[in-house]
Subunit: 375 residues, 2 copies
């Protein structure tokens, strides 16, 4: 089965790898280089527990399904391509600064325990015993040991290597402008430095994030994809934490190589990729509250990404009204976490061709209801 | 007279221009490109009034002398090279945030008036009438209308053009390793991509900032030059101020093109050129206190420079114990302000060959006293 994938972010690459492993003949088109979009700006926290209350249950279920697949996914990627994904399992330590944070952590702890996710409430002293550099002003904490993380800047190249080792053809710097059904196959109009041309395929998967609607698929309706800007600050120097530290304003993610990531803003700024003074100020001051030692670290990078989001902040994962055309996009803040699950179910769907019940909440049709013209 | 200048910062370029105008045959050696060092990181405020109390009177006199020369200097540079220096005269507005700032401004105002420099104390309301975007929390101000500024990123290329138009030969990416007197002339050992070679000259001026002591001049003693790191943050967007705004923690310098500079940290970090998290945090939060609207500006650059300083933070401007070798270095935070004066007096000294009385406090000998071995 000839399969074209549009988009070389973590979702497109994971789907390409999974489909190729199952025998599909996969060509992946990426407008820049694989990972040039939001994927490599992400912090890579694999922590569905963090926002349980604000997340619809169907999405939590999908997250937990994907999380369970992560160890096998990482093992398969590393075995196929020979490159490490930067997978770590030190957990998350929530740090509270005052009474409001304490109440929030009580609440978060109760919800997690209620859903069978173990979490442990800590005193300020406990927090500093586990992470000695945490501010002396911290009054308490919540330790979530089951949280894990992956380094997206390792995962993406590792996935790319795994794809290539599995026979995926990657065409970088190639834009897919349109997809049209034609005599039982799909015809893609592609553009690269070599000019415009056509590409024939049996199936196509749109996994192009914020660029989803840049590709015209007749007669697929408009779904209202929009970018949500996120800034992340990279620091480097003496390691100050072993695990992810966070509160409701900030997360601090340590990397194996001495890097510390501070994330992340959420801004409605269209396709703007410029760092803002306010975003950087907030990240630095919230991080300083948690871990005063950041003051002396090098500031090596301010990175900006565009998270792909639909109006309800849930992804679309499923078929479309065009035979052979599928969508896996709109993963918003969850692309890294959801990649193994998305790849698994998308492969089931595209290779077996059967509807999958628990993908039903992620169909594109839900997005059309709000767009009807008023009577 | 064949004259070699070591260093293509603002001081080296200004001296080269002045010497060439007076008929010297000038060759300027710069280890990278002209302006690659501290000069183009500077904010370019021409405001000797700002730190009157902390500055020795001899240096204030030199600053005021240089300031008086600025309009003619800019006119000459612009006429010779045809490029603008970004000279502006909107003055400085000190903004006070609380009682301590108010007392400081009372004091600063009194000192300035005492020395015949007009300055005007303002209420918080006055401040916002002059600069409407200043924080509503500002409680008072001090307007120093005579302060001016120049844009170093325009001044340096303008000076380079003026030098070239005046016959100065600029050898970029060339390091001067050593200077040795030899049979009545000076022999420079220079190194570039083309390899090492010798260059003969009659006179040499060391204007190489923090790299001063990278060039071995026999038998000139060690003077203890050291770098003092400074970070500056560049913002861009809607113009929020017409003039320089400042207090004791921060200055905000608007540029004609919509840029706003926030400066500057002072750090003893050796030759490290990496931005720090703490430095950036401080600049952003102090700037936000003065001008909350910066929150929405783009953060376009974090720039780091190394100010050249001797132990007493005064420059060395004068001859050395090696015939024909002169020094103009160690201008610390004052290189932009002091450039026209330094160039004028250095040209008098090197071309007329006579000692200049009021350069006496800037001789290198003063630095040797503290370096004597204990008895």
């Amino acid at each position: 089965m000839r399969t074209a994938i549009v988009g070389g972010g973590v979702v497109g690459l994971a789907c390409a790898f999974e489909l190729a492993r199952r025998g599909a003949e996969v060509t992946l088109f990426e407008r820049e280089q694989p990972g040039a979009g939001a994927s490599t700006v992400a912090a890579g926290m694999l922590a569905p527990s963090s926002e349980l209350e604000k997340t619809p249950q169907v999405l939590v279920d999908l997250q937990l399904d994907s999380l369970r697949r992560y160890p096998d996914f990482v093992a398969a990627v590393e075995a196929a391509g020979g490159q490490p994904c930067g997978y770590r399992d030190e957990g998350t330590l929530w740090v509270s600064r005052h009474r409001d944070d304490e109440l929030e952590l009580d609440h978060l702890c109760a919800i997690q325990q209620d859903r069978g996710m173990p979490a442990r409430r800590l005193s300020g002293r406990d927090v500093r015993q586990i992470e000695p550099y945490v501010s002396p002003r911290a009054v308490g904490g919540l330790l979530v040991e089951r949280d894990t993380q992956v380094d997206p800047r390792r995962l993406v190249p590792a996935l790319r290597a795994a794809c290539e080792a599995s026979g995926v053809e990657i065409r970088a710097q190639t834009v897919v402008r349109a997809i049209e059904p034609r005599r039982g196959t799909l015809s893609l109009t592609i553009e690269s430095d070599a000019g415009a041309s056509q590409f024939e395929t049996d199936q196509a998967l749109l996994a192009s994030g914020v660029w989803l609607e840049d590709c015209i698929v007749t007669p697929l309706p408009t779904l209202g994809m929009r970018p949500i800007k996120g800034q992340i600050v990279h620091l480097r120097g003496q390691p100050l934490a072993d695990r992810v530290l966070r509160n409701s304003d900030i997360y601090l993610v340590p990397r194996a190589d001495g890097e510390l990531l501070l994330g992340a803003t959420e801004e409605e700024q269209g396709f703007d990729l410029t760092a803002s003074a306010g975003g950087t100020l907030d990240l630095l001051r919230y991080a300083f509250e948690v871990l005063p030692g950041i003051y002396d670290l090098d500031l090596t990078e301010i990175d900006v990404g565009l998270r792909p989001a639909f109006s309800d902040h849930m992804p679309v994962i499923g078929p479309t009204n065009v035979d052979g055309v599928f969508i896996a996009a709109g993963h918003y803040r969850g692309g890294i976490l959801l990649a193994p699950g998305t790849a698994h179910w998308m492969a089931e769907l595209m290779i077996n061709g059967q509807a999958i019940d628990h993908l039903a909440p992620f169909g594109y049709e839900r997005l059309l209801q709000n767009q009807e013209a008023p009577a």
